[in-house]
């Protein structure tokens, strides 16, 4: 009571701090929820408008603990290289699978994407040659969705898949390894198919 003003302002400060923390937790939750993919600490920093990765890390780990304590169907996990993801606990997947109806992409753009993935880095010109002129729109959509990058090189443009693409399909982020993985699965599928057709 000696310094009532200060103590009062401290009390206020605590309240404000708690509200601020709550808001930060909500912002990280919002980010993880709408992104639907792993976010890096840099991503979270930019949402929290802070430059301190430590601060961002504290917030997201606090949120992850909160989710763990609630023990419901959704979890927040830390992945390798300090990325965080909100996801459905896998044990619930079989029960709700039938509700997942929306494809990532319609067949046209998906075809173009698969072609870029296996032939990357590939020039836009070549993609158009093989896939036709409508592929211009596909490339635009794929770029907007963050599935590919377009790198201008003089008059030509080179296309590559992004880390997001690799993460989505559970493939290696290293392009050489990814292409090997894709080819391996493709060969296995083709041989399985031909065996089935032979049978």
């Amino acid at each position: 009571m000696q310094k009532p003003q200060e103590s009062e302002s401290k009390g206020e400060g605590k309240e404000v701090l708690r509200e601020k923390l709550k808001r930060k937790l909500a912002l990280v939750e919002a980010a993880l929820y709408v992104a639907g993919r792993p976010l890096s600490l840099s991503d979270l920093c930019s949402i929290l408008k802070t430059q301190s990765k430590d601060k961002a890390k504290k917030i997201v780990e606090m949120l992850a603990r909160e989710y763990a304590n609630r023990n419901t169907a959704i979890e927040i996990l830390e992945l390798k290289d300090e990325r965080y993801v909100m996801q459905l606990k896998s044990e619930f997947a079989p029960y709700v699978k039938k509700l997942i109806k929306r494809p990532l992409l319609s067949p046209g753009p998906l075809k173009t994407l698969s072609y870029i993935a296996i032939r990357q880095p590939i020039s836009q010109k070549k993609v158009i040659e093989v896939r036709g002129r409508h592929a211009y729109t596909h490339i635009k959509v794929l770029k907007e969705m963050g599935l590919i990058t377009i790198e201008k090189r003089g008059r030509s443009a080179m296309l590559r898949t992004t880390d997001y693409f690799a993460d989505y399909f559970g493939l290696s982020r290293d392009i050489t390894t990814m292409k090997r993985e894709l080819k391996k699965i493709l060969e296995r599928e083709t041989s399985e198919k031909s065996q089935m057709e032979d049978a």
Partner: protein
Amino acid sequence: MSIEVKKPFYLRPPWNILFELHKLEKISPWSINIAYLLMSFLEEMKKMGQIDFRASGVALDSSAFIYLMKTKLLLKLQEPPKPPKVILDYVPPPLIVPLRHELTSTTIRHLLEVLDEVLKNETILINRFEKTSMRPILPDPSVIVPQVEYYLMEIEIQMERLYATLCNMVKGSGIIEFSKLIKGLPRLEAIRTFILLLFLAQREKVGLWQDENSGEIFITIGGLNAEAPRI
């Protein structure tokens, strides 16, 4: 001198279009086959055994004019279409998209299924490409579109060169016969020289006069210009 002059063949259809340009107002220049007209014009003249350079010059000038008309029409076609009339109606603001997380159903299996198809298509395309073995579908654009600017630039230089030659031949001023000027030149070169002379005459650098009987053209240079009858 005969009073009744027989109408020359080129004033009859189809060549008359080259000599009566006012008729062009009524027809589309794209319906005129310049190459055919000129070829048949030359053949016809050859049959008659008499080369009329005046008619040839006019025919050439008209052809160039028709060609220019065609080019202008082409350029006109390339003008962007007028924007459609915008009809005013209340356009509501964009809807606010609710942000929801949604799992998508596309798996690596789907990706590979379509990849298989795309690769098959790629193989077909490559085969087709190899068969056609780089044969160009269209001729080189320079074959279709003559390099007009280059030609015009070139013509200035050629004119200067010819004028210098002429001045040199008459040592300042004098008269030269056209046949002497083109002696030993190939036919195409002779025609080119004639066209250059027409340009020079148009700029009043030289005078041209043709003898009705012999058909010989006399070129007057220098101070003789003023008195020389024009063609």
